[in-house]
């Protein structure tokens, strides 16, 4: 039987790192299980305007770097693994990873969410061939080409602004007739001469063999469709999708109370199983931001401490 940790945190995004910071300060023996990259969704974010104390121009990676260093200072152990199953009922919880098994008296699930796909024909086949969910990863490929951004929230408009560094034109395709993004971001977008808007529109199909060459856009009000074809000289264009997030909690389905893929907790992050907590975007909640994820993580860690007595 391996070591039994006081707390195992699954996920090293803002919620998980914040939980690790609080657990570390409480001198709980802590293990963070992260499958590959620290930071979760925010490390693919170019600019974070709304985290208190963040400097102007603060990027996701720079913010996360500071959080990781802060956590390391309090001595949480780290392992790179993907959790594929869990036994949560007993006094000692068992997490089964691809590489090993981990035992903890408490568990904080901070697995977060991943970008939600459009779900239209052609999309899956063209990921990495013109379709992307990561502007900082892939914007560079579309230097001087046409770029389309799908969505109208904070992420979509923030990333559209970032993509104007690369594209000769950035067109925002949004299903409504007004943006949902924060007013400060909207103002920047409306003032940017490279950004255009296609209102009341959705992407109905993405076309291309081994590279994106065309797309069908449908007006949701009139039902009219319109085909967009890649410029002959460019040969392709970019479609960046920011229409929301899919929770990453499939492992816990049937084990915990959930609602549409998210884990239900009370306001102190308790799930329906004693000793099992959830924090961050994985929870049923109304505002998914770095600051709310960090707050969740802090509460969850303190609740672990109370639970351990």
């Amino acid at each position: 039987m391996g070591k039994v940790y006081d707390v195992i945190i699954i996920g090293a995004g803002p919620a998980g790192l914040s939980a690790a910071l609080y657990a570390g300060r409480a001198r709980l023996s802590t293990l963070i299980v992260e499958k590959i990259k620290d930071g979760g969704q925010i490390v693919i974010t170019d600019e974070i305007e709304n985290y208190p104390g963040g400097e102007p121009g603060e990027s996701g990676p720079s913010l996360i770097k500071k959080m990781v260093a802060q956590v390391a200072h309090f001595g949480a152990e780290r392992v790179a693994d993907t959790i594929v199953d869990a036994e949560l009922g007993g006094e000692v919880k068992k997490l089964i990873g691809q590489k090993g098994e981990y035992l903890g008296k408490t568990v904080i699930i901070a697995t977060g969410a991943s970008p939600k796909p459009i779900g239209c024909p052609g999309e899956k086949e063209l990921v990495g061939r013109g379709v992307s969910y990561c502007a900082t990863c892939d914007g560079n490929f579309f230097q001087d080409m046409e770029i389309f951004v799908v969505g109208g929230g904070d992420s979509a408009i923030q990333e559209a602004l970032y993509l104007t560094k690369f594209g000769r034109k950035v067109t925002v395709i949004h299903r409504r007739d007004a943006l949902r993004a924060a007013k400060s971001i909207q103002e920047k977008a409306f003032a940017n001469p490279k950004i255009e808007f296609m209102w009341d529109s959705v992407v109905a199909e993405l076309k291309g063999k081994d590279i994106l060459t065309g797309m069908v856009v449908k007006n949701v009000k009139t039902g009219e469709t319109r085909e967009i074809v890649a410029d002959e000289e460019d040969g392709t264009f970019g479609v960046f999708v920011f229409i929301g997030y899919d929770p990453q909690a499939r492992v816990f389905e049937g084990k915990l109370d959930m609602d549409r893929g998210c884990i239900k907790t009370d306001e102190n992050m308790h799930t329906n199983i004693p000793g099992v907590f959830a924090a961050g975007d994985i929870r049923v909640k109304s505002l998914r931001q770095v600051v709310t994820a960090a707050a969740d993580g802090a509460i969850a860690a303190v609740e672990c401490e109370k639970y351990l007595g």
Partner: protein, 105 residues
Amino acid sequence: MVELTKENFEEEVLKAEGKVFVDFYGDGCVPCQALMPFVHEYAETYGEKIKFCALNTTKARRLAIAQRVLGLPVMAVYQNGGKIDELIKDDCTAESIEQMIKKHI
């Protein structure tokens, strides 16, 4: 690991004998950076059986597009001048990359 460029890609990858593993990465790509230590580890372990190369696509955008790489990270295996296997974006994990390498040695 052979660092690829626009100039040597043809020689090192397309005209190479046997199979060649290519890690396509980019400057702003955090997922790529997170995978890099694993790829280096595999290069140590399997380097005698398959050639390991990496291409910074930020400096070779056109070349990457010609290879049908427009999203990162991409881990690919080449043979006889063509791509015979690849993992794109979220399909790239430490485990899946090692599996793909093992399949080709």
